[in-house]
Subunit: 425 residues, 2 copies
């Protein structure tokens, strides 16, 4: 491809706008104005968009009305139209403001995926067409959440010269599209605009004095994402981390500075960066499990087959070859999980199954905690002073998580926020 | 491509379902059952679908909310999603009934068009993928109304290896897709199912005793389409005529036999096949036009530029180089047309402009009328006996049209229907 001097001199930035930011014609026009402001600063802009508001849910509803279990290949084509609609409307809005813009589907943008319909993985990006349109001075709008297989996927034994099937990337799909495009195009950053203003030291709804972080490391953000923060799917963050692509998380409704997720040195920062929590926790304990090989697999494989996502697993120390096995799940899965686990428990001779569906989870997160003692002790003593009983503890290198009573979760976040002086960030 | 014996032995039929036939999940399921019934008779089936109900109008509304004049290239991508949605839902419904089915976009179906966005013409069809899917025993559902350019259309000077832009075919688009695919695939027929049961000797709302025709020639149908019958766009019929592809027009809501449009010998048929009418007629007469070359162009070019579609044009015989020029348009265009024509009339020294917006149009149609005298006389005398005054007359080889008072239009159709004994068909 020809490369103009302009292209070499100018920086490129990838914007991504979520569903609520493009939920109406008015909001799309407002997003257009934000993009134009960026363009005026001299950056080339590639924009990734989600489907408008509830558009995806509406399409799913329609599919479920024509078929009990809609075919995955067809479902992907159906859902891909949601993001295409947004991309064309945003391109129209930009053109109405006098700016050259063009919408591209995932396929046109060169996003090639494997053939795992509804949860495809990006295998390669051929950004030829995007570069071509940028070269001609255009703002490029890419429909997020979707890609295309190199050949048609239904009959892998068929001649496939004309093939090529549309896929969708599953949860966190549009964020993944944006980060992957930013990497592939050598963008200076991926900026993700939604109704969330950034990453806070704790959920502001639980801790009013929570402070918006100006930056956070990929590792910390990943622990935030996995442990209760719903801001961004881990998948896109992992991708950013592997290729060291800075990701800005900011609001699309105002110009307040957001949070930059990046890989910079965090040594100078305070040791605990943030506290995350989750109120949707249930616990199942199988009491008196004979402790011999294969028992765990015999329990967790059937749970996985039933589509139940298990979060934390704790097995207590074995006394005389008898152990207690505890795992946590979402409250909605508790009854289903009990139905799966009870006959197995009986079969392997366990004493009983106990469920507790009134739990919460609180984590302190910070890459500075790594190899540094004392954080756990401070966390546990803070909770103890507040009269909060800890039911389970799990840790990673940069995170300490406790499972506690649901009703005490918010207060736990508040006392820990003060104890680790996050309000003074 | 490999060709199986099955493919050689089996006949192929193309079905097309219009917007009202697929307006809800329930109707899509009902269409699926019709297709399955055809499949069971042993035919291979390719199905072309329109967008659901008002889906296209809803998308246009949305576009007009983000931009006053939405960009044509973006509008095409936007509108193309409507037919794609229907195609996936129908494929899902067929699969739910246990039949292998696959949806293809216009692009995947190999429908290549020129780059005239919003009114593209099909230039070629590469049905490789369709044949491949048929070969594997699938029912193929194609999104109508759309195609793809061989390369991207925005920068024809750009390197275009990755290009390819979505186009839409404009009015009558999905019918055209269906007939073109039928031709390209060598189908035995193209069957078009809508809420219209077939072609009648006259509009049943005007003439209760109107009879559904079992067959009609392409030529007659073309005159019907151009002269008031809204059943099918002339474009698809012309295509059928050129390649001699039989087109069945029938209801998607019941199993009553429809009307076959084909090129068979019509000699044995009665001479007048049907009567069509249109109540939406306005007339503008420019009185006292100096009769010299260039005058007509000076009037009709500005009308065309203003987007006004002129139907009939009549210029009365010139007396002393002064003539009256009359043309008809739809009522909605009358005021706009007057505004265009008045200053021109003044400039060229015409006496005045007179508009009449209360007119109707009635045509008798029949390929048997060709070179056969007497039909016009019978038509005019029938109208005269009924006390209906004729304002304008135009004819083609197989059609005679009169412009009359709007309030007399229905009665004119009724008396002509009896006079030409169409109720005895």
């Amino acid at each position: 491809m020809e490369v103009s001097h302009q292209e070499i001199d100018m920086a490129l930035v990838v914007h991504k706008y979520g569903g609520t930011s493009v939920a109406s014609a008015e909001r799309i026009k407002s997003v257009a104005r934000r993009i134009i402001a960026t363009r005026r600063k001299g950056d080339d802009v590639v924009v990734v968009v989600s489907a408008m508001g509830d558009a995806t849910d509406d399409l799913i509803k329609l599919a479920c009305q024509v078929a009990e279990k809609p075919n995955a290949r067809e479902m992907d084509v159906l859902l891909s139209t949601g993001e295409i609609v947004t991309s064309t409307l945003l391109a129209m809005a930009l053109r109405a403001e006098g700016h050259e813009a063009i919408s591209l589907s995932g396929a046109q943008a060169g996003i090639q995926t494997d053939a795992n319909h509804s949860k495809a993985r990006i295998v390669a990006i051929n950004p030829h067409r995007i570069k071509e349109e940028l070269h001609y001075g255009k703002i490029v709008i890419v429909a997020g959440f979707q890609g295309i297989t190199p050949s048609n996927t239904q009959d892998s034994h068929a001649p496939s010269s004309t093939g090529m099937d549309i896929t969708t990337l599953g949860r966190g799909g549009s964020d993944t599209t944006a980060v992957a495009l930013a990497i592939s195009l050598g963008a200076r950053a991926c900026e993700r605009y939604t109704d969330t203003a950034g990453i806070y030291t704790a959920d502001p709804r639980a801790v009013p004095e929570a402070v918006k972080l100006s930056e956070i490391s990929y590792e910390e953000m990943l622990e935030m994402a996995s442990y209760g923060s719903k801001v961004m799917h881990p998948r896109a963050i992992e991708l950013g981390q592997i290729y060291n692509m800075p990701i800005l998380v900011a609001s699309s409704f105002n110009d307040a500075p957001g949070t930059l997720i990046h890989g910079g040195t965090m040594e100078v920062q305070q040791k605990v960066t943030a506290i995350s929590h989750d109120m949707d926790v249930a616990k199942i304990t199988i009491v008196g499990v004979p402790d011999h090989p294969g028992i765990a697999a015999g329990i967790f494989e059937p749970l996985a087959q039933a589509g139940i996502s298990v979060d934390t697993i704790v097995q207590n120390a074995s006394v005389q070859h008898i152990t207690d096995l505890t795992f946590t799940i979402t409250k909605g899965d508790a009854e289903k999980a009990l139905n799966v686990v009870r006959p197995i428990a009986e079969m392997i001779g366990a004493r009983e199954c106990i469920a507790d569906t009134n739990l919460g989870k609180v984590s302190i997160i910070g890459s500075g905690m790594q190899n540094t003692p004392g954080y756990a002790a401070r966390m546990f003593s803070t909770l103890s002073v507040a009269g909060i009983n800890i039911q389970l503890i799990t840790t990673s290198e940069i995170r300490i998580t406790v499972i506690i009573d649901e009703t005490q979760t918010k207060r736990a976040v508040q006392v820990l926020h003060r104890a680790f002086e996050l309000d003074k960030a």
